[in-house]
């Protein structure tokens, strides 16, 4: 049974909520201003709840099972994060309240800035960017502004061919030209190609490390040197930071500016596609360009008391907003995805330094273990020790099934498929990121499913091509969707 649309459940006159009376003498509504009709659905609360509960049951989430979607770090998100983020003292504060009425929020943000600086090895952090892609855009704009200030006309950004699509898109949005750098046979940046493309036009390079193949570039320090030598700056896409927590600091490996991806590394739930959060960290030379406002801490003469008569005496500081002097400006309304920041703060506080390192270690251990098992069945894109993820080639000898078919068949085994067809440089890519929260038993079960699927690919390929068989719907016609473009109900 497919779930009806809200408009199909609608009955004129129904309402899914109770509302207060106006309660004051009415002021006439100005003529010509009032809309004739408001074609929203009219459903009762019970129908509404059932509708969305049923819809939710058609979804697969991390709480349902293993979700090894490469590059997305679909780790389990501790429930305490949700409790933390829903405390009314946080959720019910307005972004324009005077600083002295929101010291709790500001302190939390300040601490988080400090944590991220320490974890990434950067001089300063702005929490404003809304997601990874916005972090990239921010970083590129900062690099641009830096060169502009020096009167240098640099309009090229170098990007490896393995990079995520947001990297070139963010560069283009900043008005810069993208030049692609090849990868070598081991999955590293091809140093020769890099050298060839370095010039005085280069504003910088965007590098994801570990890269989207799950590999730590074996020449990272050299790359940084080459880029810096030609006057460029190195941008770090921190989508894969989960491999590096407590293992290495990007700021110490040559990155000048870098985005963290809180919804990946710092365990905030992905929300069906967002919200995320993409704070940016940078070295001292770039810090004046950070977007703002950021939080600063000033020693207070007296311990500030809050409005309710409590004094928070252990903390004799006052937290306030500040705008970096040469800031590229705001990239977002208000200050960032505060609710997401609370979750990330909670996570870091609960793990501490040793816990974070354990996260990275187990993420990498899990990926290598699973890689070893998967390798028995599927070819790896690069047969090397990996970091937190790896890419397998979704082909089976003696069968013409594709990565997509394998993915859809995994659904029947109760798993979410890996990322497909990315990175683009690996044909039929299956990009597998187990994350540290998964147990050995889960990894074993997943590897076993892949083994069986490879077998099926040879013996009953149709089973794969028609998969999934145990999902709420069968394969969907994407061509029809794009052709007909039904983007809303006809209300």
């Amino acid at each position: 049974m497919s779930e009806p649309l809200l408009c199909e459940l609608s009955v004129p006159g129904r309402c899914g909520c109770t509302l207060p009376e106006v309660g004051v003498p009415e002021t006439p509504l100005p003529e010509g201003f009032v809309r004739a009709d408001l074609p929203l659905p009219e459903v009762s609360e019970v129908d509404l709840v059932r509708h969305f509960v049923r819809l939710s049951q058609l979804n697969y989430g991390v709480d349902t099972g293993f979700y090894p979607l490469g590059s997305c770090t679909m780790k389990y998100n501790p429930k305490v994060n949700e409790v933390a983020a829903s405390l009314p003292g946080f959720t019910q504060t307005h972004p324009y309240q005077p600083a002295h009425t929101v010291q709790g929020n500001l302190r939390l943000m300040w601490e988080l800035q400090e944590f991220l600086k320490e974890i990434g090895g950067f001089a300063a952090v702005s929490l404003q960017p809304a997601a990874g892609a916005q972090g990239e855009f921010t970083g590129i704009q900062m690099i641009r502004a830096y060169h502009d200030d020096r009167g240098e006309k640099r309009d090229v950004i170098l990007i490896p061919d393995s990079a995520h699509g947001t990297n070139p898109a963010s560069s283009a949005m900043s008005g810069l030209q993208v030049v692609e750098v090849r990868s070598d046979a081991r999955g590293n940046v091809d140093l020769e190609d890099l050298r060839a493309k370095c010039s005085e036009r280069v504003a910088g390079m965007m590098l994801t490390n570990p890269n989207t193949l799950g590999l730590f570039d074996e020449h990272l320090l050299e790359i940084a040197e080459i880029v810096h030598r030609c006057g460029g700056l190195l941008y770090g896409d921190g989508a894969n930071m989960n491999a590096l927590l407590g293992i290495a600091r990007p700021g110490e490996m040559g990155f000048d500016v870098f985005h963290y991806n809180l919804h990946k590394t710092f365990s905030t739930p992905h929300g069906g596609g967002g919200p995320g959060s993409g704070p940016v960290g940078c070295s001292a030379i770039l810090s004046p360009y950070l977007p703002g406002p950021r939080v600063e801490r000033v020693r207070s003469d007296e311990c500030p008391g809050d409005v309710r008569g409590h004094t928070h005496t252990e903390d004799c500081f006052f937290y306030d907003w500040t705008m970096p002097e040469r800031s590229i400006g705001r990239v977002k309304t208000f200050y960032g995805q505060f609710g997401v920041l609370v979750r990330a703060y909670t996570y870091i506080r609960m793990l501490g330094a040793a816990g974070l390192r354990q996260v990275a270690e187990d993420a990498v251990l899990n990926a290598n273990y699973l890689q070893q098992k998967v390798k028995e069945v599927f070819r790896l894109s690069h047969d090397r020790r990996c970091m937190h993820e790896f890419v397998a080639v979704g082909r089976v000898e003696g069968s013409d099934v594709r990565a997509l078919d394998i993915s859809k068949r995994l659904i029947d085994y109760g798993f979410h498929p890996p990322t497909n067809y990315f990175p683009l440089i690996v044909p039929e890519a299956l990009m597998i990121e187990p994350t540290e929260t998964e147990s050995k038993e889960t990894l074993d079960a997943f590897a076993e499913a892949l083994r069986r699927i490879a077998e099926e690919a040879r013996t009953q390929p149709e089973l794969l091509r028609q998969a999934p068989h145990r999902a709420p719907v069968r394969r969907l016609d994407e061509v029809k969707a794009a052709r007909e473009l039904i983007l809303r109900w006809i209300g």
Binding site: G16, L38, P41, V80, T101, A169, H270, V364, E478
Partner: protein, 449 residues
């Protein structure tokens, strides 16, 4: 460690399978000089302890749960029906990611399709996308879209000075390096007539906001004429709008807007100190291929049953890379889900009622405050839920007094509008009970004594 399930024995077993001696060995590619830094972070806390700490931090804030909130200016304290959290709190929704695998993501996909549908209904537009980061970035992306529609041949972007100051700032950040010129908002007196006069053949788009940042509702009739003028020069009209106001007022789609955007927070999302919110974005069907962001479309499955998928991804970064309409990837899906549940819960009658309450209570409050000595209501045109009041003392001082009386005061306009010194922007929603309005009036009267 509750979040990394391995026991030491299991780790050893796994290392053996891998053929490594130690976990450290797995990190051999990391430059030795940088490997294993000592992170200086506070000692780890257990659940009991972290929640105690966070409750303490939260208690340092003055929240709209304990105080009566008169602050708006782009983020609003509206009622959120209990069903919204019930649904948004279902982990099948919040622990999923972007619905790349539609067969096991119909929940998210259909919900977003319904969100798109209701945003269209609300704005009177033909298509809406799956969300932007917030109102400010939606405005910026709308401008970029207009520039793309004009194929880069038009270079002037007219911004109304009554557009939210932060939206204008975000637009400027987004358009650095684009070669586009943003103007129109340099003088606060630039009203619609002045902006209309600035239109020319090089104008790419004009961005206006209604209700304006100062709360005033622009006349649909006037906006219709403006749209005609904009279209006459071949430009696009972008309208930023408070979605709650659309419960009552003529939607932009009816007076010729080409792109309608706005901050969607008020639709079922808590204040949350500024985020996560969502930007909504709607346009004409003809322009959909220039639109940024994700789109959900209806289709059928192999068995012919209705289903939903992400569509037109050829616009997006993961396919089009540097030629994409935007770099956006992760968006505000869960906030859009909240908005969908909110709009469905309120529905036709409910949203009308909420908008009505705001309108009438705000006017009631303005009327009473306007009669107080020393206070003057500066909003004249019809306003929605916000209005400007000039005060007999600096607004920050007034707000401190109000705080003592249990109110979170209005937005201090002297921060953003130097010509509105000692002016506060007060916001009255359905969350301000009538007796609290009356109490506010009494408190304000006291202040001038």
């Amino acid at each position: 460690m509750a979040y990394t399930p391995h026991t030491e024995a299991q780790r050893r077993e796994m290392l053996q399978t891998i053929g490594a001696e130690s976990v450290a060995e797995l990190f051999a590619d990391v430059p030795a000089t940088c490997r294993f830094p000592e992170l200086k972070l506070p000692a780890p806390l257990s659940e009991v302890e972290i929640l105690r700490e966070l409750r303490e931090l939260a208690s340092w804030n003055a929240s709209a749960e304990e105080f009566t909130c008169l602050l708006g200016a782009g983020a609003y304290h509206h009622y959120i029906p209990s069903v919204v959290q019930t649904i948004v709190g279902r982990s099948e929704f919040y622990t999923a990611y972007t619905p790349y695998q539609p067969e096991i993501s119909q929940g998210t996909l259909q919900a977003i399709f319904e969100y798109q549908s209701m945003i269209c209904a609300l704005t009177g537009m033909e298509v809406a996308n799956a969300s932007h980061y917030d109102g400010g970035t939606a405005v910026a992306e709308a401008i970029i879209m207009a520039a793309n529609v004009a194929r880069g041949r038009r270079r002037r972007i007219l911004l109304s000075p009554d557009l939210h100051p932060e939206y204008r700032q975000v637009a400027r950040t987004y358009l650095r390096g684009s070669g586009l010129e943003l103007l129109g908002d340099e003088r606060p007196e630039n009203d619609l007539d002045a902006l209309e006069k600035m239109l020319d053949g090089d104008t790419c788009c004009l961005v206006v906001q209604t209700p304006t940042f100062l709360g005033e509702v622009l006349s649909p009739e006037r906006l219709r004429r403006l749209a005609e003028a904009v279209h006459a020069v071949g430009a696009m009209l972008i309208v930023a709008v408070d979605p709650i106001s659309l419960g009552l007022f003529v939607p932009p789609g009816e007076y010729g807007a080409d792109i309608v955007v706005g901050e969607g927070q008020a639709l079922g999302n808590p204040l949350n100190f500024g985020g996560p919110y969502l930007g909504f974005f709607a346009c004409r069907r003809d322009d959909v291929r220039k639109m940024a962001g994700r789109l959900v479309g209806q289709t059928v499955d192999a068995g012919g049953r209705r289903g939903f998928v992400l569509t037109l991804s050829t616009r997006e970064q993961h396919i089009r890379r540097e030629k994409a309409t935007s770099n956006i990837c992760t968006n505000q899906s869960l906030n859009a889900l909240a908005a969908a549940v909110y709009l469905a819960a309120l529905g036709k009658q409910g949203l009308w009622r909420i908008a009505e309450i705001c309108y009438h209570r705000a006017h009631y409050a303005a009327q009473k405050i306007g009669r107080l000595r020393g206070f003057e209501v500066r909003s004249t045109r019809p306003f929605f839920k916000e209005f400007v009041v000039s005060c007999p003392l600096p607004v920050d001082e007034l707000n401190d007094r109000l705080l003592e009386e249990g109110f979170i005061g209005g937005f201090d306009l002297s921060q953003t509008h130097p010509h509105l010194e000692r002016c506060t922007l007060l916001c009255v929603t359905e969350m301000v009970p009538v007796p609290e309005i009356d109490r506010l009036v009494r408190v304000l009267r006291e202040v001038t004594r």
